[in-house]
């Protein structure tokens, strides 16, 4: 490992100072650490080193070495290499470190490398009583996020079809990740794709290949879930006392209009019969619609219908 670390530091020092694209051959003869005896051994070592640089986040690009465009060489654009320093204080770094320790991705912790790049932070032994798992592995999410920020096309298999998406954003909702963006060749302005249903994700190399539609708003882009919507009617629903406070919490627009020892009557705003019935049925036989009468009859008919 020592040798690899030394060689990479030498290679990176060279690429950051040379100021022009350099060929693999020039690297082999200039940088200390590439004394491999055969072409094949050098090629293998150099390929691995390039992968390692990219893993670290080093922007390694191939460019023509001269105006005649005969040869290609490697270059690390120094503007892209360095971190745009967000200017964090030690307190802010520690807060980020604690947050990154409290959150997992599919059971995995995030690496400390990101905090190191920002200047590091002393680790405290927090009791670890709160933590959240955001469900999906960070490698895949990171690849998609990179496609979003660099405006690269993302390709993946989804419901038996290969898709081509201009990725606009990621949403985490109720434990699931969704990628939002227009699908090339599809009529909808944007679509949502569940990340855990994607197969064979590939991100194009080309950067800046689309422009995000100016009217796009990530917040309102994911279709609302069933039972949400605008409300204009009121239903009276009587709940057994033991489930009443849960019902109130689930329906913030509800008002209590009556209370007895055994039950609580709530007035609940709703827009569609069907979604209100579904919600009331979630309380089994502990909730009864009292009014309007059509709604009450609709629920009974719904329950009695054979499946």
């Amino acid at each position: 490992m020592q040798k690899v670390v030394e060689r990479i530091l030498n290679l990176l020092a060279f690429l950051l100072t040379v100021g022009r694209p350099v060929t693999a051959d020039e690297i082999r003869h200039t940088v200390k650490g590439y004394e491999q005896p055969t072409d094949e051994a050098f090629r293998r070592t150099f390929e691995r080193d390039k992968d390692l640089l990219r893993t670290l986040g080093v922007p390694l690009e191939l460019r023509h070495t001269d105006l005649w465009e005969v040869e290609l060489g490697y270059v690390v654009p120094s503007d892209d290499y360095g971190l745009d320093d967000p200017g964090l204080t030690d307190e802010e770094r520690s807060a980020l470190l604690l947050a990154s320790q409290a959150v997992r991705f599919g059971g995995q912790r995030t690496e400390l490398g990101a905090i190191f790049k920002l200047g590091g932070a002393a680790r405290t032994t927090e009791s670890g009583t709160v933590y959240a798992d955001l469900g999906h592995d960070l490698d895949q999410l990171g690849a998609l996020y990179g496609a979003i920020t660099d405006k690269k096309i993302a390709r993946f298999d989804y419901r038996n079809r290969r898709r081509q998406i201009e990725p606009y954003g990621l949403i985490h909702r109720r434990g699931r990740w969704y990628l939002i963006g227009p699908e090339r060749g599809a009529p909808e302005p944007v679509k949502a794709f569940r990340v855990d249903r994607m197969g064979l994700i590939a991100i194009d190399e080309a950067v800046g290949t689309f422009t995000r539609a100016p009217e796009f708003d990530l917040k309102s882009s994911l279709a609302e879930l069933p039972s949400e919507g605008t409300t204009d009617m009121l239903a009276s629903v009587r709940f057994d006392t033991d489930v009443a406070s849960i019902a109130k919490r689930q329906m913030p627009g509800a008002t209590e209009v009556d209370r007895t020892q055994a039950s609580v009557l709530l007035e609940v705003p709703y827009s569609a019969d069907r979604s209100l019935i579904g919600w009331v049925l979630g309380f089994d036989d502990k909730a009864v619609i009292e009014a309007p009468d059509e709604l009450r009859r609709a629920l009974v008919a719904f329950v009695e219908a054979p499946t």
């Binding site: 200390k32 798992d133 920020t149």
Partner: protein, 312 residues
């Protein structure tokens, strides 16, 4: 062989060097704490390695100049390493996601708010929001977290998910956590006399008692997974296209059918959970297979209809 450890070591070296350079030298103890070194020896080992690298020529004037004193480190002749590497997309997302999740959950200090704001200003492109977290946070999360930290027993009113029955329970809370869209409290339940996990949005009353409990020796459950078990009831049914969202929200196996319908196999530990869902789905579900669940479903139907007959 390139290993993760090699990458981790390089990442750290490429962060430590800019820190030392931009601060004109640094205190070794601070470096050890800040960059998570085991001890000074480990830090010094990295610094000695850096000392053997530099620019082509690799003579005394080309190599990076590192001076390690008892309690201070200086680095010279390495201006090309004066800036830390940019964050990879995964790193940026990981930090933003972690910070934003805690902010959404009302668990954030003012320092975290400002840190996430500063970070977003350098990693989020100017067109606007690129990542969004919708983490619902039940009111009791903060209080429960505090009670767990101080090991106070909590008395909760809890409406069971499977049963819809309300019980009062005294809990010795071990952890509060968020998983797959919900917040949970895990701990020792004195009513059940065993370890239990409770969904916090189903807790309707909460009293923090003065009693402080002694933390048990056994390993604590701090997470929850849906694990298929041999005791699970299985039910199979067909969903019309309009109800396909069910497959997005429940852990089920899905088999596509013609006309965009799907055939779903669902395993549940309590048949009532499946029966309630099937009832709510109404006519969008057909061809139910699974005797136990069907029996519970029919019982549920007649209980509800009986309730309506009684009240009118």
């Amino acid at each position: 062989m390139t290993s993760d450890r090699t990458a981790q070591r390089l990442t750290r070296i490429l962060a430590v060097l800019p820190w030392i350079i931009s601060h004109d030298g640094a205190d070794t103890d601070d470096l050890v704490d800040r960059f998570g070194y085991k001890d000074t020896t480990e830090l010094v080992k990295d610094m000695h390695l850096v000392f053997t690298t530099g620019l082509p020529g690799y003579g005394p004037g080309d190599l990076i100049d590192v001076d390690v004193f008892d309690d201070e480190v200086y680095v010279d002749a390495a201006d090309y390493f004066s800036r830390p590497l940019r964050l990879t997309p995964a790193e940026a997302l990981g930090l933003l996601a972690s910070g934003m999740t805690l902010i959404q959950s009302d668990q954030a200090s003012p320092a975290l708010h400002s840190a996430v704001e500063k970070l977003a200003s350098v990693v989020v492109p100017p067109e606007g929001e690129t990542v969004r977290f919708e983490v619902p946070t039940p009111a009791y999360v903060g209080t429960l977290k505090d009670a767990v930290a101080s090991r106070n027993v909590v008395r909760i009113g809890y409406v069971g998910i499977a049963t819809n029955e309300r019980t009062e329970r005294d809990i010795e809370g071990w952890s509060v956590f968020f998983n797959l869209g919900n917040w949970y409290l895990s701990g020792f339940c004195r009513l059940a006399e065993g370890s239990r996990v409770f969904r916090i949005d189903r807790i309707d009353t909460l009293i923090v008692l003065d009693e402080v409990y002694v933390i048990p020796e056994v390993p604590l459950q701090t997470t929850i997974d849906y694990r298929p078990s041999e005791d699970d009831q299985h039910v199979r049914f067909t969903l019309a296209p309009s109800a396909r969202w069910v497959a997005e929200y429940y852990p089920v196996d899905v088999e596509p059918l013609d006309d965009d319908a799907i055939r779903v196999t669902m395993g549940v530990s309590d048949p009532l959970v499946a029966a309630r869902l099937l009832l709510q789905l109404g006519e969008t579900v057909t061809d139910i297979q699974g005797d136990e669940v069907i029996a519970v479903l029919e019982n549920l139907r007649s209980r509800i209809v009986a309730r309506y007959t009684l009240t009118k």
